[in-house]
């Protein structure tokens, strides 16, 4: 089944916005609706934006009224940088519950749900396998609030898939993404003059480029991929390797014992290392990406190339700063441009 009427949640996040930009260029897609509780941060041609509450409580009405056949949920908070623990919990647990409720039910028009999750589902522990496959679970209960929220959200999605066997449910577990437009804990850490590390540890890291990230989401929307898929580029790097690819020294500023105390002190100095990243800096993580590759997704870049490309973007950043006005969403302007009869549109477009 190819998707015609698509709803994207989390339009204000990087992932949702970029995905909507790609989808709206596809003429076979009739309708693109984006929802989020904040204004979108990128320019959109024909995507209709609806502002909803954090809990997405009224989503069911939108889904039914617009006869949405595909819901792409990109809104999950996967980085402590994005939101406070309380907001993240509301969004990840209650939000997921409501979005799934909007997609389910006997008369629901929804035939496909794509759920963007995170490799934080697996956690980072001492006795992890070197490559997590989709069938594996974390060996210990989650250590941080964010991780347990992600696990709980996935559990809700799993339950939804069982109750609605005629809906194709795709769960995508993404590794850390890098790219010039992304703002995550890792892009911030890698922008520092030296890459922070825990003394005595050289964890394994896997990345995905932001373009591949959008590509994977689009791929999942186009195909029928029921089940869980890891989304990670080829190659697992060591943190020391990442630092040398970025052209920066590795700074083991965090002590092996009492690292979370030291991380607290660092955050006072403006360097934020949240709990889930601290676990990664200690034990690292690798994912087996062969299932999605086998389903036909061709990754454009490997982990190493992703880091190299990110390094180029980091070097170019000071030159680009202040070059263009950042995009700002203004409802009245958008509505005028889209609906006013006075606006002259080139023939053939909607």
């Amino acid at each position: 089944m190819s998707s015609r009427r698509i709803l994207v949640t989390g339009l204000s996040t990087f992932w949702g916005g970029r995905l909507a930009q790609v989808i709206e260029r596809d003429p076979s897609v009739e309708t693109v609706i984006g929802v989020s509780h904040e204004d979108p941060a990128c320019e959109l041609e024909r995507t209709e934006f609806v502002r909803v509450g954090l809990h997405h409580a009224l989503l069911r009405r939108i889904v039914h009224a617009a006869e949405i056949d595909t819901v792409i949920d990109t809104r999950l908070v996967v980085d402590s940088l994005q939101a406070s623990p309380r907001v993240a919990h509301e969004a990840n647990v209650i939000g997921t519950m409501n979005i799934l409720a909007a997609c389910g039910g006997p008369h629901s028009p929804v035939r496909k749900v794509v759920f963007k999750s995170s490799a934080h589902y697996y956690g980072c522990e001492r006795d992890d396998p070197a490559f997590f496959t989709e069938a594996m679970r974390r060996p210990h209960p989650p250590r941080t609030r964010l991780e347990s929220d992600i696990v709980e959200a996935e559990k809700a999605v799993e339950g939804f898939a069982e109750r609605n066997p005629d809906v194709t449910v795709t769960v995508l577990r993404f590794v850390n993404a890098l790219g010039p437009d992304l703002r995550t804990t890792h892009t911030q850490l890698f922008a520092l003059p030296a890459v922070p590390a825990i003394l005595g540890f050289d964890p394994r890291y896997q990345f995905i480029h932001e373009d591949d990230l959008v590509g994977v989401l689009r791929f999942a929307a186009e195909r029928n991929l029921p089940g869980v898929y890891n989304a990670a580029a080829d190659g697992v790097l060591a943190l020391s390797e990442v630092a040398s690819l970025l052209g920066k020294p590795l700074a083991p500023i965090l002590p092996p014992w009492g690292a979370s105390l030291a991380a607290g002190a660092l955050s006072r100095a403006g360097i934020r290392v949240p709990g889930e990243v601290l676990n990664q800096l200690r034990y690292g993580r690798g994912l087996d990406n062969r299932l999605l590759k086998g389903a036909g997704y061709p990754y454009a870049l490997t982990s190493r190339e992703t880091v190299l490309k990110h390094a180029e973007a980091l070097r170019a950043r000071p030159l680009k700063d202040g070059a263009g006005e950042p995009y700002r969403y203004e409802r009245e302007v958008e509505e005028f441009l889209r609906w006013s009869p006075s606006v002259r549109r080139p023939r053939g477009t909607v």
Partner: protein, 284 residues
Amino acid sequence: MKQLPAAPAGEEELRALLPAIEPDRQLTDWGRSERVEGLIDATLYEFLYHYWFRCEVEGIENVPGAGGALLVANHAGALPPDAAMIAKAIKEEHPRPRPLHLTVEHFFKGYPGLAMLVNKLGGVPAHPANVHRLLHDERQLVLVFPEGRKGSEKLYKDRYRLRRFGRGGFVEAAMRARAPIVPVAVVGAEEAMPTFAQIGVLQRLTRLIYFPVTPLFPHLGLLGTAYLPAKFRIRFLEPIATDQWGADPSDDKGLVQTVAEEVRSRIQEELIDMVSKRRSVWFG
């Protein structure tokens, strides 16, 4: 356009989907570093293998030149030198030298310093999924010590007496990967760094897996990690095929235990034979 759900990929397909090797990288996806390993190999291992332990190797032809194989050896010495010497033996004596992946306890991944070093030297955490991927998908040589720390922490008075072989997990891994098991008997490691006692208090204080008293440690500090010059003999025994018992023999726990016990007794007999023929601990 209607699309079928992705069919579960077959074994060969999964193998073809393994990431390609990037020639510009010095590390593998497992974190193994050619540079660090090469450096240690050319200096320390070279010296230990040829001059200090004067390793003598028998039965190197029992190590397959291609495909996955699980090497199973006895484990000894407070800071066991046996793994490095077995890896070096394959590098030096085998007509087709291949890298050897050594399974290590999860402890190493959690201990600062060791965590950085061990996987650069070819250590892989002893997780069944790791062993399966290496043996089955990547078709590599993997070395396991089923005794684990029970072998290396045992006291000098128990030398060359094999401990319990875990729960037979190594046999299951080999069966599932359909890779042969090559038993390996090593003589010399027990005398290279014998343990006379274990100090529990210091073990808890340092958070190491154990804190041994050896002839030179702990009273000589870091110098105490030096080995005594025992003569090493490494014997690779005839491989045991694991694809002779039908499609999925790893479900049969009885068979797994039988094979594990057979591997153990073959190594034990070989050790008794080698030790009884040895005239001197130091000169062989």
